[in-house]
Amino acid sequence: MSNEVEKDKLSGTDTTGHEWDGIKELNTPLPRWWLYTFYACILFAIGYCVLYPSIPLPWGGHTEGLLKFTNRKAIEEDLKANAVAARPQYASIAARDLDAIQADAKLRDFAVAGGRAAFAQNCAPCHGNSGQGAKGYPNLLDDVWLWGGSLDQIHQTIRFGVRNANPESHQGVVMPAWGEAAKNPPQVLAAAQISAVADYVLSLNHKDVDMGSAKAGQAVFAENCAACHGENAEGNQDMGAPPLITGVWLYGGDKASLVETITHGRAGQMPAWSERLDEPTVKMLALYVHQLGGGK
């Protein structure tokens, strides 16, 4: 191979000496600093590999890098820093009662934001991510409350829960299984009676039903149901007995659902969150739930 640089006759430019099928490549050299930039990038990449986790290992895992950096650790540090920064607000929330927090716009905004985060972590699995509820899990946005919708009542419910081992929890009265003799021997209702009382409840909600059946159901209701649900089916929050005239249903408001509820009974539960969360978080949750739209 000769060491002489060949010039292309037409353009007067040097060739690289490469030739394919009679076509020669012209040499239009890149500036050398560009090459050095490339070398600098290689050096940077080596430095990066040494300092940061980068190379997967065949037996699992990866090189850790001299800085021992992990995203998890970085986030943990961020969370810690956040917790430290929020300490004064937590202290104020712990020290003040709910009405005082609500009166302080800035603290209320903090509490609502904290409550939103705590809700997503703890409450959303049952009550839905916006508090919209699901069958058997109350909607927290509407204006019908089993155990009361004032700020203090919501706080109480979250702290101690419903029908759990905590002695402070709402026990109320369990809806009996009216159609199961094995569970409810003295008060069992016949299937026809259950159907009739369901018709009666539907009629209270302006639904088209067999009026004869509803009439029969009214007597059954007065005898068996009114004790808890009230004479006019207006409900009783001390017992956790829902009103039956609002059109808002926890377990469904069609006839089949009502018959199922009456036949097999219902007894919703909720944990006592004061056993799992600190007091400021429970207060923040109460303030958050109260401002969702249903708070009284």
Binding site: T16, S130, D142, V248, G293
Partner: protein, 473 residues
């Protein structure tokens, strides 16, 4: 470090050939000085110009307040949601660049581009300290001496000074410049400020002092794009080969007008020979025009051997015809029309701007809530923007369903059909509101809802949204 070579040993990489532009005088040089002076003065001094906006507002004429999310432009104030004005300015700049290129080639590159302006400034300093072209070449070739060291140190010190000033001026556009420069000087500015000063210092020093024409030739995409914007009617700096060739001595009667004095090559800031034809590296700065004209004048020959000329014009001259220029042609008409259209649209937008604005977002989940008494409720996030400096109370109603009961979520429900919302000054106030409607008023699953915001002695602001309910009866 050795670099890759071709099979026969030629290097595939080129060592940097330093360009030593010679000083030149003439009309284009004067124009270039003037443009440079205006551009530099605007960049360095504009942040210091004041503009009174009243108590509590920044008094800087042009301020890009990133932290506060505001852009102040004399009497105007822009918010992030008006980013389309920035888009509009960029579209305008692009069209202006297209139009200028179609008419006059790369005038932007030759006169107004920051790279050109700062390179010119740095070369000016270099010439002042080290002398003109030949003295600089001799100095670089000479062995190291005290004089050489002194000159080099002085040059780099002044370059660094200019670079630091550029860095400081740059951050001055993004913060209150007088107070920021005070903080910068006393070491109390933030690390971000110092970081940007350092970044701009480095880039100014490297690009203006060291890299220079390498930026235009190798880094900038514009030289590649411009070939698509030029046509045979665009005026560009060109050598009149028909008149100049063959080159020869002034005394040679058979030779063309070009005496091969190389003045055009020596003054070129990108180090090219314009006589090889219009080429990628040429930034149309026309310093070679000045250089050639002065030589032609000395020789008592007609000037304009190198001149601003379109390809068509040059062909006509070569054929002995008068050169004609066609500035008005399809592409320039199109660029100008687009330019006017965008400018007109922006001006209209600016004139019709309202200081108040309402945005309504329906809650994503749940779409509706069933309430007792066979009523339905929907939630909305209402955002009120207030660009004025005083709080303003508005009344929110629903135009097409006056029976809708409105409430601010979390506040006591009452049967009101209008609510008072306060828009805080110079900011956005966010409300979560609820609207309730008896289910019997719903015909299908969806009902249009028109929110009306009235007050402040301005025309009502109307925003359309929807009210959702169950699709089953």
């Amino acid at each position: 470090m050795s670099s890759p070579t071709a099979p026969h040993g030629a290097s595939l990489y080129e060592a940097h050939k330093k360009v030593y532009p010679r000083a030149v005088t003439g009309r284009f040089r004067r124009l270039k000085w003037a443009v440079m002076g205006i551009c530099l003065a605007f960049f360095y001094l504009m942040p210091l110009v004041r503009w009174d906006r009243g108590e509590g507002s920044p008094d800087q004429a042009i301020l890009i307040d990133l932290a506060g999310q505001r852009v102040y432009l004399f009497g105007l104030e822009f918010w992030p949601q008006e980013i389309y004005f920035v888009t509009g300015v960029m579209v305008l700049a692009m069209l202006l660049l297209f139009l200028a290129t179609a008419l006059f080639g790369r005038v932007w590159c030759g006169y107004a581009c920051p790279q050109t302006v700062w390179t010119d400034l740095f070369v000016m300093v270099e010439r002042w300290i080290e002398g003109d072209r030949m003295e600089r070449v001799r100095l670089d070739r000479a062995a190291w001496s005290w004089t050489k060291l002194r000159k080099k140190l002085a040059k780099h010190a002044i370059w660094l000074g200019i670079a630091v000033a550029s860095g400081c001026a740059f951050v001055g556009w993004f913060a209150d410049a007088p107070r920021l420069s005070h903080r910068l000087l006393h070491g109390t500015a933030s690390m971000t400020d110092y970081g940007f000063v350092l970044l701009l210092t480095t880039t100014t020093y490297l690009l203006g002092g060291i890299a220079r024409e390498q930026v235009c030739t190798y880094m900038c995409p514009w030289p590649r794009i411009q070939s698509a914007l030029l046509d045979e009617h665009s005026r560009v700096v060109s050598y009149q080969a028909w008149r100049g060739e063959p080159r020869g001595k002034a005394s040679d009667p058979t030779a063309g007008a070009c005496v091969d004095c190389l003045a055009c090559v020596q003054v070129c800031p990108t180090g090219i020979d314009i006589r090889d034809g219009h080429q990628l590296q040429c930034i149309d700065c026309s310093l070679c025009v000045d250089a050639c004209d002065s030589v032609m004048r000395k020789l008592d020959r007609e000037t304009g051997l190198i001149r601003w000329e379109s390809f068509t014009g040059q062909t006509q001259r070569a054929a002995g015809l008068p050169a004609e220029w066609r500035p008005v042609r399809a592409r320039t008409i199109l660029y100008a029309a687009l330019l006017l259209a965008v400018a007109g649209a922006m001006l209209t937008g600016l004139t019709l701007r309202q200081p108040y604005r309402m945005d309504v977002l329906h809650d994503r989940q749940p779409l509706f809530v069933a309430l007792s008494g066979e009523r339905l409720r929907n939630g909305y996030v209402v955002k009120l923007s207030n660009q004025t400096r005083s709080a303003q109370v508005f009344t929110l109603t629903v135009a097409n369903h006056p029976e809708v009961v409105l409430a601010i979520a979390g506040e006591q429900d009452s049967a009101v059909h209008h609510i008072q919302l306060t828009a805080d000054p110079d900011g956005q106030t966010v409300y979560h509101i609820t609207a309730a409607l008896p289910q019997s008023h719903m015909e299908g699953g969806t009902e249009p809802l028109i929110f009306v915001l009235s007050g402040a002695g301005r025309p009502d602001i109307r925003v359309s949204d929807h009210f959702f309910g169950p699709v089953w009866p």
